[in-house]
């Protein structure tokens, strides 16, 4: 007799198989429970490393979105403040035109000048506008940008600086978020405070009122031009908001393809493992402890 002898101890093999199957079932159920097929770096080292990069990029996209949200308020506040400035200047121009009418008496012109003084003060308060406790037009200083100053020809002095801030709203995309008050209100081609002061003087002295009105009108044009900056910035924020949301969607799609559990696959793997497990258990319980001894009488 020379048949090949087989290993009579089958149980250890079966137990090892059982162990493997059990592990497969555990892995599949963990993948289904967490929704991720990478639950520790060794599950897919390259995928885990990619996920680190993906998570970092997603975090940056989130932080850009938060920054966009935060500065949007600031830019809106600045824009609407400048809107009020423009309206005030329009009113000043029509007052100036009214004052230039030769039929007005001195006291009528004094009334107009008084109203203009009110506008001057309103403009002062607008130029010192603040958002969340911070002055909007002080450059990067935190002091009140414009104060009344009798020694200055325009009646005010600028205490801010001419520095601008930028905020990152995308990779390599830094958006300028402020224009210094000196540039907006006291520009060389249109000085708000100077022009109003000149108009008041012209009305009081009834001298060259038309020239002063032109000056205010120049300031109006100039400030309107400056306001465009904020409008543009707000538009850029909105555009960038959409761009980053698209980026986030792409990142999420990438993360999904790197690490998300293929539910159908995991469920199939789980039920396969379960079937195998049952079969193995049934097999083990049936591996008979039957031998030739049972048949000997």
């Amino acid at each position: 007799m020379s048949s090949i002898r087989v290993n009579p101890y089958v149980l250890s093999d079966l137990l090892a198989d059982l162990n493997t199957t059990q592990r497969q079932a555990d892995t599949a159920s963990l993948q289904m429970a967490t929704g991720s097929r990478i639950n520790k770096p060794s599950d897919d080292p390259a995928g885990a490393a990619e996920m680190v990069g993906n998570a970092a990029q997603t975090a940056r996209a989130d932080s850009f979105l938060r920054s966009i949200g935060s500065i949007n308020g600031l830019l809106q506040a600045a824009d609407s403040t400048l809107g009020s400035v423009v309206t005030a200047l329009q009113r000043a121009i029509s007052l100036g035109v009214e004052g230039a009418n030769g039929t007005l008496s001195d006291s009528d012109r004094a009334d107009v000048a008084a109203e203009l003084s009110g506008i001057q003060q309103q403009l002062m308060s607008l130029a010192n506008a603040s958002y969340q406790g911070e002055f909007v037009f002080a450059g990067t200083e935190t002091v009140q940008p414009f104060i009344a100053d009798a020694t200055s020809p325009s009646g005010v002095t600028y205490q801010g600086n001419t520095t601008t801030n930028t905020v990152q709203i995308g990779e390599n995309y830094a958006l300028q978020v402020n224009v210094p008050g000196s540039q907006i209100f006291t520009g060389p081609s249109g000085n708000v405070f100077q022009s109003i002061t000149d108009l008041i003087n012209a009305l009081q002295t009834n001298n060259n009122i038309g020239g002063a009105v032109t000056e205010v009108s120049n300031a109006f044009t100039y400030v309107t031009g400056q306001r465009v900056f904020y409008g543009n910035a707000i538009n850029q924020l909105q555009a960038q908001h959409n761009v980053i949301n698209t980026d986030k969607l792409n990142l999420a799609t990438a993360a999904n393809s790197i690490s998300a559990t293929d539910m159908a696959q995991a469920a199939t793997a789980f039920s396969q493992a379960e079937i195998a497990l049952n079969a193995e258990l049934a097999g083990i319980s049936r591996i008979s402890q039957v031998s030739l001894f049972d048949y000997l009488k």
Binding site: D43, G53, T140, E141, N165
Partner: protein, 456 residues
Amino acid sequence: MSSLLATMHLATGAMAVDQGALEVTANNVANVNTPSYSREVPVLEESTPVVLGNLTYGTGVKLGEVHSIRDAILQLRIQQETGQQGQLNAFVSAMNQAQTLFAAGTGDIGSQISNLFSSIAQLSTNPVSISLRQGVLTAASNLASSFNHIASNLSAQRSSLDLNVAQSVQQVNTLAQQIAGLNGQIAALENIGRDASTFVDQRDDLINQLSALIDVSEIKSDSGITLTTSNGTALVTDTRSYSLEMQADAAGVQHIISQGSDITSTINSGTLAGLIQVRDQTLPGLLNRLDTLAAGLATAFNRANASGFDLNGNAGGDFFSPPSAAVAGAAANMAVAITDPALIAASSDGSAGSTGNLANFSAIQNQTVIAGATPTDYYANLVFNVGNDVSNGTAELQSAQLVLQELQDQRGSISGVSLDEEAANMVQYQRAYDSMARVVTSINQMLETVIDMGTT
């Protein structure tokens, strides 16, 4: 011609042999579940024949020896594979613990780095806000704690591996002593020509256990076996065993000393090899890379903070406590140097509302400040390496287990007790015994006939 009495003698002798063979079968069946038992077979031999004239008569059967069925080469391969498995097992289970520290989550270093940069981006929208400044400090201190936590965890793991090494060395010593003892018993039995297979089985089992702990080479000699580690350090020579000793180095790490020489780094198989590999290479390597990352980040942040002005208009100081010149320990000791949120140097010109210098902080995430890589890339690579170590180790472990399983199967097919086979043998010996008994009965009747011949 032969005599009736001689035939009777032959028959009873054969009955004794069958009984002996049945005893071997019984012993095999009794040991069916004994680990490392090698089945035994009775070796039946013809007795020396008698020559009378021109006739040669057989004189029956004798039990030559009881032989253990084992394959020495297979045993050796099992030992090697057991050692391989022991090493991989120790490596994988230790590194499995370590890798959980690098699993993606809310507290991992990667997210903490992102959180810090996000908090700085937030600050750039309102640089004078104390709460946003505080947010930056909190994120920085969370990052530092993450480094501290992981570094101290890895160090603690090294210490516990140190304990495991000491325990394994103790087991090696105990096993070596037992093997030396068995060597003596085997030699004593074999010297007087007796079968020592029971002790040989036991010794094989112990050598197997020893191989699971440390690399073992086996040299057979007349008076037993000599066991050495692969670099030639003796563990057992015949009836003598040599204890391994432990000696702590300056850093408190236990080294393994054999007869005065340090063999720690030469052990290349078994649990000890795996433990030592993780303790002396993998974990220190990981710690070193964490230190590099921590030191690189701290230096970059300190440089960024120093290039701007704080809320009070003063030049910025250190952001993190500066890492010492040696990188070692940077992760364990990382800490935020400033407690006053106003001291974050956001301003580039000294004006409180400037965010110009924050760009220098944000830029760090794209700069190759850590050994030629950006912080995130460096950390991602670290995660890859940890995962790769574990995943390779696990794959190797699984294949080693398969090989070992296969070898055990082979051993079973050669040395394992098959109940069917033993039952068949039993029937066979019993039948032979019965037949011989019948022969004795016949001869008895024949003898009666002979005796009766005189009386009638």
